[in-house]
C-alpha cells in the first residue's frame, strides 16, 4: 500500500532529479566564481537528500499515514475553468470569459442551478469589468473582438 510519506519522499527525489539533470548542463563555475548552475545543483542535491531522509524515516517507523483522497473532479474542473478563462480572455473579452469560468467552476461543487450560476457569472463579469477596467484602468478587452468599438 502507498503511504503519504512514500509519495512525499519519492516526490522530493523526483523533483530534485529533474533539477539536477538540467542544472548539471549549466556552467557550474567554482566556489569563488559561482556559475548559474551552482545554486540549483547544490539545492537540488539537498532536496534529494531530504527526500531520502523522509523515506528512511518512513521505513524506520514501519508505517505511515494513509494517502489523502484526491478530489479529481474539483481539481480537473477548477484547472479547466482557469485555462478556459486564459484562452477566452483575448478573443472573447472579460465578460464572456468570466461567465465561462464561473459556469465551469460551479460544476466542481455539489448542487446545480444553471440560471442562478449564469446570473451570478454575468453579474460578477460586469462588476469586475466596471471595477477593474473602467475604475482601476486595467488593460483588458471587455467584449468579443467582433464587437470592438461597442
Amino acid at each position: 500500500m502507498l503511504h503519504r510519506e512514500m509519495v512525499v519522499g519519492a516526490g522530493c527525489m523526483l523533483v530534485a532529479g529533474f533539477f539536477l539533470l538540467y542544472g548539471l548542463q549549466l556552467p557550474f563555475g567554482t566556489a569563488g566564481r559561482m556559475g548559474p548552475g551552482f545554486l540549483p545543483v547544490v539545492t537540488a542535491g539537498i532536496l534529494g537528500l531530504l527526500g531520502a531522509a523522509i523515506l528512511v524515516q518512513y521505513v524506520i517507523a514501519g508505517g505511515g499515514q494513509a494517502l489523502p483522497r484526491v478530489n479529481w473532479r474539483a481539481l480537473f474542473l477548477v484547472t479547466l475553468s482557469i485555462l478556459a478563462f486564459a484562452v477566452l480572455l483575448k478573443p472573447a473579452g472579460l465578460v464572456v470569459s468570466s461567465v465561462v469560468l464561473i459556469l465551469i467552476a460551479d460544476f466542481a461543487s455539489e448542487g446545480r442551478n444553471f440560471r442562478r450560476t449564469l446570473l451570478s457569472g454575468l453579474l460578477l463579469g460586469l462588476a469586475s469589468a466596471g471595477i477593474f477596467v473602467k475604475a482601476i484602468g486595467l488593460q483588458m478587452p471587455l467584449w468579443p473582438s467582433f464587437m470592438a468599438g461597442f
Binding site: 512525499v8 559561482m34 539545492t43 484547472t79 478563462f85 480572455l89 469560468l101 467552476a105 488593460q139
Partner: protein, 499 residues
C-alpha cells in the same frame, strides 16, 4: 528629539487624504475578504496585491498593511461569532470568544477583542519606532556572509518553528529556492530551466505562486470537505460598549498579551499565531480560576487578541530593519516592495524616510480605523458569512484570474496559475506546509546573491561563512532552537498545538 520628528514625519505621510483613503480601503477590503471562510491573510494579500501595483510605493504598502490587519481582524470576528476562525491566529480567540457569544455576550467579546487589539497596536507601533534605528545600525555591520547566515537561519527557524514535521518544512523551503531559480540568472545572464520559453525568462511571479497555492489549491481542498460553513449557529450581537468593570478586567490580560506578542512577533517564525497561543497559555496559568477558560473567560479573548495584533505588527521589524521576512506574510511584503524597486533592509530608513515612517504611522492609523470600522459594521460581516461557499469560490477564482492577468497584462500568467494550481493542490492535499515554499521562493534570489558575493570576496573559501561573530551568533541561535525543538517534551506539545 529625533524620535518625535520621525513620528511627525510618519504621521504627515499617513494622514494625507490619499493615504488615509488607501489605508481605509485596505482595511475594508482586508476585513471583507478575511471574514470569508477559508481565506486567511496570505490568500487575501496575494489576491489583492495586483490592485496596489499602480499606486505609488507609500500608498501601496500602506494599503497592503491595511489589508493584512483587516484580514487578521476579520478572522477574529468570525471566530467569536460563529466559531469559525478565519486563520490560525484566531483559533484561540474562538475558544472563549464563541462561548461568550453563546452566552449572549457577543458584543462584549467583540468589543474586548477590538479594544485590546487597538491597545496592542498602539504599544507595538511605539515599540517599532524605538527599535527600528538601533536594529538597523546592527544591520549595517552585515556583509554578504552575515546576510547569508541570517537568511539561512531565519528560513530554518521560520519554517521549523511553525511546523511539527521538520524535514518536510525544510524540503519545502528548498523546493521554493529551486523554483526561484527558474528564469534568467542575474549575474551570468544565462537562462535556467526555461526550456526556451521566452515568457519564462523573468521567472515565475511570486503572486501567481501565492494565488495558486493559497487561492486555487485551497479552494479545491475546501470543496472536498463539504460541510464548510453550513448551518452555523450565529450568535446575536448585543450591546457593544463594555462596562467599566469589563474594561478593568481586560487591561492586564491585554497588557501581558501585548508584551508576549511584541517579543514573539520579532522572532522568525513567530508571528501572530504563536503570540496568541502563548498569551492564552499564560492567561490560563495565572488566572485565579483557570476552569473558566474555555467557558467564556474574557481574559482568554483579550490577551490573545492583543498578542496576535502586537505580533503581526512587530513582525514588520525584522523586515524593515534587517530585510528579513519572519513569516510568509512578510515574504509577500518583500515581494511587494521589490515591485516598487525598494529593497527591504536597513537602508530604507535613510533613502526613503517618508515611506518608512509613513508605513509605521499608518499601522497605528490602520488600527484606529479597524476599531471604528469594525464595531459598527459587525452586522454586515456576519451577513457575509451566510453567503454560501458555492457562490463564493467562483468569485474568488475570478478575482485571482484577473489579478494574475493584470501582473503583466498577459494571459501567460493565467496559464502559469493553472499549472501551479495543480502543483499547489498536490502540496495542499499531501498536507505539506505551503508557507515555507513561498518563503524559500521569495528569499531564494537574495540567498544566492549573498552567497555568491561572500564567496567571491573570499575567493571561494567557504570558511568565510563562519568567520565573523555575527554569523556564528546566528548559527548558534539556530542550533539552540533546533535542539530545543527536538526535545521530546516540546515535540509533544507541538503535536497538540497542531491538532
Amino acid at each position: 528629539m529625533d524620535l518625535l520628528q520621525n513620528i511627525a514625519l510618519g504621521l504627515g505621510v499617513a494622514l494625507t487624504l490619499n493615504n488615509l483613503l488607501y489605508a481605509f480601503v485596505g482595511c475594508l477590503l482586508g476585513t471583507l475578504i478575511g471574514v470569508l471562510p477559508g481565506l486567511g491573510p496570505l490568500a487575501t494579500i496575494s489576491m489583492l496585491l495586483p490592485l496596489t501595483y499602480a499606486l505609488p510605493p507609500e500608498a501601496a504598502l500602506i494599503m497592503l498593511a491595511g489589508i493584512y490587519y483587516g484580514a487578521q481582524y476579520g478572522g477574529s470576528t468570525t471566530a467569536i461569532i460563529v466559531n469559525l476562525p478565519g486563520e490560525s491566529s484566531a483559533v484561540v480567540t474562538a475558544l472563549d470568544g464563541y462561548q461568550l457569544a453563546r452566552q449572549g455576550k457577543a458584543g462584549l467579546a467583540l468589543a474586548s477583542a477590538a479594544i485590546s487589539s487597538f491597545f496592542a497596536g498602539t504599544i507595538a507601533t511605539v515599540f517599532i519606532t524605538v527599535m527600528a534605528k538601533p536594529l538597523a545600525q546592527v544591520a549595517f555591520q552585515f556583509g554578504p556572509a552575515e546576510y547569508f547566515a541570517m537568511m539561512v537561519v531565519g528560513l530554518l527557524l521560520a519554517t521549523v518553528l511553525s511546523n511539527a514535521r521538520m524535514i518536510e518544512s525544510v524540503a519545502m523551503v528548498v523546493l521554493g529556492i529551486l523554483l526561484s531559480c527558474v528564469g534568467t540568472d542575474i549575474t551570468s545572464g544565462d537562462e535556467r530551466f526555461t526550456f526556451g520559453v521566452t515568457k519564462l525568462f523573468d521567472g515565475f511571479d511570486f503572486v501567481v505562486m501565492a494565488m495558486a497555492v493559497f487561492g486555487f489549491a485551497e479552494i479545491i481542498k475546501n470543496l472536498s470537505e463539504q460541510d464548510q460553513g453550513a448551518n452555523l449557529g450565529t450568535a446575536k450581537i448585543t450591546r457593544l460598549m463594555p462596562r467599566w468593570a469589563d474594561i478593568k478586567s481586560i487591561i492586564w490580560p491585554a497588557t501581558r498579551g501585548t508584551a508576549i506578542g511584541s517579543v514573539l512577533g520579532v522572532l522568525p517564525g513567530g508571528g501572530a499565531a504563536l503570540g496568541s497561543f502563548a498569551s492564552y497559555a499564560a492567561e490560563k496559568k495565572i488566572a485565579k480560576d483557570p476552569s473558566q477558560f474555555g467557558k467564556g473567560a474574557l481574559a482568554g479573548v483579550a490577551g490573545p487578541e492583543a498578542a496576535n495584533n502586537a505580533a503581526s505588527q512587530t513582525s514588520f521589524i525584522p523586515l524593515l530593519t534587517l530585510g528579513m521576512p519572519s513569516n510568509a506574510v512578510m515574504a509577500l511584503m518583500v515581494g511587494a516592495m521589490m515591485i516598487h524597486d525598494i529593497t527591504p533592509g536597513p537602508r530604507v530608513m535613510e533613502t526613503n524616510p517618508s515611506l518608512f515612517w509613513g508605513l509605521i504611522a499608518s499601522m497605528w492609523v490602520g488600527n484606529l480605523m479597524l476599531v471604528i470600522l469594525n464595531l459598527p459594521l459587525v452586522g454586515l460581516w456576519v451577513k457575509l458569512l451566510t453567503v454560501p461557499y458555492k457562490l463564493l469560490y467562483p468569485a474568488i477564482m475570478l478575482l485571482c484570474c484577473i489579478g494574475a492577468y493584470s501582473l503583466k497584462n498577459d494571459v501567460f500568467e493565467v496559464y502559469l496559475a493553472a499549472i501551479m494550481c495543480v502543483v499547489g493542490y498536490g502540496i495542499v492535499a499531501l498536507n505539506l506546509p505551503a508557507a515555507p515554499l513561498l518563503m524559500g521562493f521569495i528569499l531564494g534570489p537574495m540567498l544566492e546573491e549573498n552567497l555568491r558575493r561572500a564567496l567571491l570576496i573570499s575567493r571561494g573559501d567557504f570558511s568565510v561563512l563562519f568567520s565573523s561573530w555575527i554569523s556564528l551568533g546566528f548559527y548558534a541561535v539556530a542550533l539552540v532552537a533546533l535542539v530545543a525543538m527536538l526535545a521530546p517534551s516540546v515535540q509533544k506539545k507541538r503535536v497538540l498545538l497542531e491538532e
